[in-house]
């Protein structure tokens, strides 16, 4: 069974129909890349999986997103528990203006997962998971803003890991980073996919090809093509996908 099964998903922002009848099933413990030109709805798609679209006023959603077989848009869904299970990393690193430790401890504290020594263990484990521990272990009380952009983004990944999610959504996590920092995050994403289901939005084709197991191509709010990454890149079924991959538009 698919980890996330999206069916006939439509999203509107006021009059703007951003996602049109999107259906796709996302496999557990794999990296799924969502690519497409700017404004194609790829960010809206992943934000539908943790119901973050609804914090924008004027948004409306129809269709269903099944997480482990349960529709997250059902009325009895606990949206806070959902967002704990489905973590998110944003386009621009957005640490809190707190210490490195407090950034990672924020989620576990909110969800009352741990305190004291156990909290410190979770922070260490999460920072190791975010491949940042060795760089920051001696200065956990420094402000998160003292880190470089790439380190901040890995801190944000660690912060998301700290609440023990099952799925990690990433919205162009490398678009604000230099190539060296990007390489580190890409390696980390591969590592994460062993334990988590990763869904990553990217407009960087090489990145999608390098790190993903499955690729979805979106255009103008619709899902054009979806399959395992090798076949999408080597034998695209749709002419549109082929044009995009070969750089004829986008």
């Amino acid at each position: 069974m698919a980890k996330v099964d999206i069916q006939e998903l439509n999203v509107w922002f006021k009059e703007n129909h951003v996602l049109k009848d999107v259906s796709l099933a996302i496999k557990e413990h794999a990296v799924t890349a969502v690519m497409g030109p700017s404004g194609c709805g790829k960010t809206t798609l992943i934000r539908a999986i943790n119901r973050m679209n609804e914090i924008i006023s004027g948004s409306r959603t129809s269709g269903a997103v099944y997480l482990d077989g349960k529709n997250i848009y059902d009325e009895d869904t606990n949206v806070y528990e959902l967002r704990r299970k489905v973590g998110m990393v944003f386009q621009k690193p957005n640490p809190f203006p707190k210490s490195i430790f407090e950034n990672v401890a924020f989620g576990p504290k909110i969800h009352k997962i741990a305190n004291g020594d156990k909290l410190a263990d979770i922070v260490e484990k999460s920072l190791r998971g975010g491949a940042l521990w060795d760089e920051v272990k001696d200065r956990l009380n420094d402000n998160a803003f003292s880190l470089s952009g790439g380190q901040q983004q890995r801190l944000c990944i660690a912060r998301a890991l700290a609440v023990e999610p099952e799925i990690i959504l990433m919205d162009e996590p490398c678009s604000a980073l230099d190539p060296a920092a990007t390489a580190k995050i890409e390696a980390l994403i591969r590592e994460l996919s062993e334990r988590y289901t990763v869904i990553i939005v990217t407009h960087n084709l090489q990145q999608a090809a390098r790190i993903s197991d499955f690729t979805a191509f979106m255009y103008m709010g619709q899902l054009v093509e979806y399959g395992d990454t090798t076949s999408v890149f080597e034998n695209p079924k749709s002419e549109l996908t082929e044009k995009y991959i070969t750089g004829k538009f986008g």
Binding site: Y80, F90, F106, G107, N143
Partner: protein, 277 residues
């Protein structure tokens, strides 16, 4: 006209007003400084009954802190509601305009309202409490606007990150937006205090008397205040100028010290908030 003449004209046109402002400021400082001679520590700490200023100074501080105690919580909570919760629509727009208008109401009108409503209707009489409520009306728009500005300066990404971790909306606001905006909120309260510190008309009918026996023992007793005494000394008693300048200087120093504290706080926290840079 050559470019050089143009430059000269603009230099003069922009320079003269600046010099006028500076001259006016230094003239006021000069007048105030002529009060220095009459001031001494004993005068500041002696009871008004013996010709000192003690009750006026403490009374002024009582009035300001009490008014801040009323205006700060109401203003901050209202601003949080307006920025984070209020739906953008007609009602919110009307509330917004009302706050702007409240800031523009002449202080004598506020004073008159305070007298008819707080002193008479609510039966608070001429008292510290009536003064607090009246002054807080003048502080509210400053606190609300200042807090709103501070909250709007906080990057939305903080709140978004908290929400994505599964917090409630209030938790996201209270754990990220409010701490980040706190310095701005504190500054706005202090600026509100500075704004009403020299206020006379609002306390004229509501809380002040010329002389009391010692400090007020409860919020329902009248109080002495520097601004009010200054007014009465000149208008009713025709005091010698030097004595009045002394009172004026003390009042000026109280107002200025609040403003300076606000500036120091703002500068200090700006440096510690990298996202503002």
């Amino acid at each position: 006209m050559t470019a050089k003449t143009k430059e000269t004209i603009f230099f003069v046109a922009l320079g003269v007003p600046t010099v006028i402002c500076l001259l006016a400021f230094f003239w006021i400082l000069y007048l105030l400084s002529s009060g220095i001679g009459t001031l001494n520590w004993a005068l500041l700490t002696t009871s008004a009954l013996k010709g000192g200023m003690f009750e006026m100074i403490v009374g002024t501080v009582y009035l300001l802190l009490g008014a801040a105690g009323v205006a700060a919580p109401i203003g901050v909570l209202a601003a949080i509601y307006l920025v984070e919760y209020a739906p953008s629509g007609r009602v919110t727009h009307v509330i917004d305009q009302a706050i702007n208008n409240l800031a523009g109401v002449p202080s004598i009108v506020i004073g008159l309202f305070g007298y008819t409503f707080f002193s008479r209707q609510l039966g608070l009489g001429v008292s510290l409490a009536a003064g607090w409520l009246t002054l807080s009306l003048m502080m509210l728009p400053i606190v609300i606007r200042g807090t709103e500005e501070a909250l709007k300066m906080v990057p939305p990404s903080f709140k978004e990150a908290a929400l994505a971790l599964g917090t409630t909306k209030w938790r996201a606001i209270s754990a990220t937006s409010i701490p980040a905006a706190a310095p701005g909120i504190v500054t706005s309260v202090i600026l509100g205090i500075a704004r009403v510190a020299g206020e006379t008309a609002a306390i004229l009918f509501t809380s002040c008397v010329l002389i009391t026996r010692g400090l007020p023992k409860s919020p329902f007793e009248p109080v002495m205040a520097l601004a009010y005494n200054l007014f009465v000394q000149i208008v009713a008693l025709g005091e010698p100028a030097q004595r009045v300048f002394g009172t004026a200087l003390v009042l000026f120093l109280i107002v200025a010290s609040f403003a300076i504290v606000a500036i120091i706080l703002r500068t200090y926290y700006r440096r510690r908030q990298p996202w503002l840079r």
